[in-house]
Symmetry: C2
Subunit: 253 residues, 2 copies
């Protein structure tokens, strides 16, 4: 049996003895890319039932059947941090979604701002990138993808109890480490990271953000960061300071 464990996200319920049918991309990946054969094992997760070892019982051109054997990890949810971001160009947005998934985001929420030049966001593509990164990063969940909304609509729908860590480029906000050290939120409180578009937020958007009680503006230092860099840096600091990077063990959600 090959020694690199393959992890696949499936929609099916998972329990010992269940039969899982794969076709399309996952079947091609198992058979052609990873050259797995009947009798080989793979790990499956669905975001609800934990991680399970399954064994390939049949393969045909373009499809594959597995039988679920035993649970390898119980389900666990990760920290509750979302990423709200103005979409960047294709390629760069794929990469951002993948890296943010590795960094443990629970949800991805693309937002249209005054200076966002992207008319539509391909949610299915975001979700596919998130699934791939979840499979490779050993997550037990896949980040939820919210609908692309304009900033005012998003702020109107925002759940008030969820803090929004806004990467403010004005240079006047406190440092992210200071702001998070002062945050007296209970552990596992809901948070989100907000990053603006390449051209920055418009004046009216800045004014609106500064007035909102759930927004915490933070600075990410003296250099100008690309939107993606700011998003990943803020998520990393959040995880390190108040997320699940404080816990000793590997294998989280």
């Amino acid at each position: 049996m090959p020694d690199t464990a393959i992890r696949l996200h499936v929609a099916d319920d998972l329990a010992t003895g269940r039969h899982i049918a794969l076709d399309g991309g996952p079947a091609h990946y198992l058979a052609t890319v990873m050259r797995r054969r009947v009798g080989d094992a793979a790990l499956l997760f669905n975001g609800r039932d934990g991680e399970w070892r399954a064994r390939i019982e049949a393969m045909a051109r373009g499809s594959c059947a597995l039988v679920v054997e035993a649970r390898t990890r119980p389900q666990a949810d990760g920290p509750d941090v979302w990423l709200v971001f103005a979409p960047v160009k294709r390629g760069r947005i794929d990469d951002l979604v993948g890296r943010a998934t590795e960094l443990g985001v629970a949800a991805l929420w693309p937002v249209r701002t005054e200076r966002t030049n992207v008319a539509r966001v391909n949610a299915a593509r975001l979700r596919a990138n998130a699934i791939e990164a979840a499979e490779q990063s050993e997550r037990l969940t896949v980040p939820m993808v919210h609908d692309y909304l304009a900033l005012p609509a998003l702020l109107e729908r925002w759940p008030r109890e969820r803090r929004m860590l806004w990467c403010d480029e004005s240079g006047t906000a406190p440092s992210i480490a200071d702001a998070l050290a002062r945050a007296s939120q209970p552990l596992r409180a809901p948070w989100a990271v907000l990053v603006g578009p390449e051209g920055g937020f418009a004046r009216s958007e800045l004014d609106a953000l500064r007035k909102l009680p759930f927004v915490t503006a933070v600075s990410l230092g003296p250099r100008a960061l690309r939107a993606e860099t700011a998003a990943l840096a803020a998520l990393a600091c959040w995880q390190a300071l108040i997320g699940d990077w404080q816990e000793a063990h590997r294998h989280g959600s």
Copy 2:
């Protein structure tokens, strides 16, 4: 005059009244990409003399002359943190170099490990990516690019007073926030971040790293991170906790 400031790195010394000749890529960028004309301004820096405003005094096909007018920012060096990394595929390495430059690395040091499948590293290409990111991120310096070395040779040459923050995937290391909080280094002490190759370090490499007095092993949480994600996350945490993100003002080096 267009309102987006253009910043260009040049090799020349900079002082009021000096004439700077550009050709090749920089001249094309100014004239064709950014559509600047005679009389327009640009900001120049060379890593030694601070940042200067210059004005275009002549343009021809493929070349451009500027005259330096006044200094806009004095020279300042950034925090002294290096990034030591096993090279990843082209495209991904370009991106890593750009983002690490935004995050303020002083030097980039590609390292060959037992599981690194890259025979040669194009140092000129790394440097070009670092320059572009330095221009766009408002840095006053460009990260130095060290020669590609095998890990044992690199460790042998390592300056003993420089701490190495090793992103250890074993799951047994303390969290990065705890490790940096305990680091009793003086402010602005020299540091480096070390990330391994995609397949991880070999057993003998792990054993060698664990014995070195200048190495601090840290954990980046429960999920498996790509090498690039780990590098950027560790740099962001370092800057936030003991680097220059604690300082209030924008416009560092």
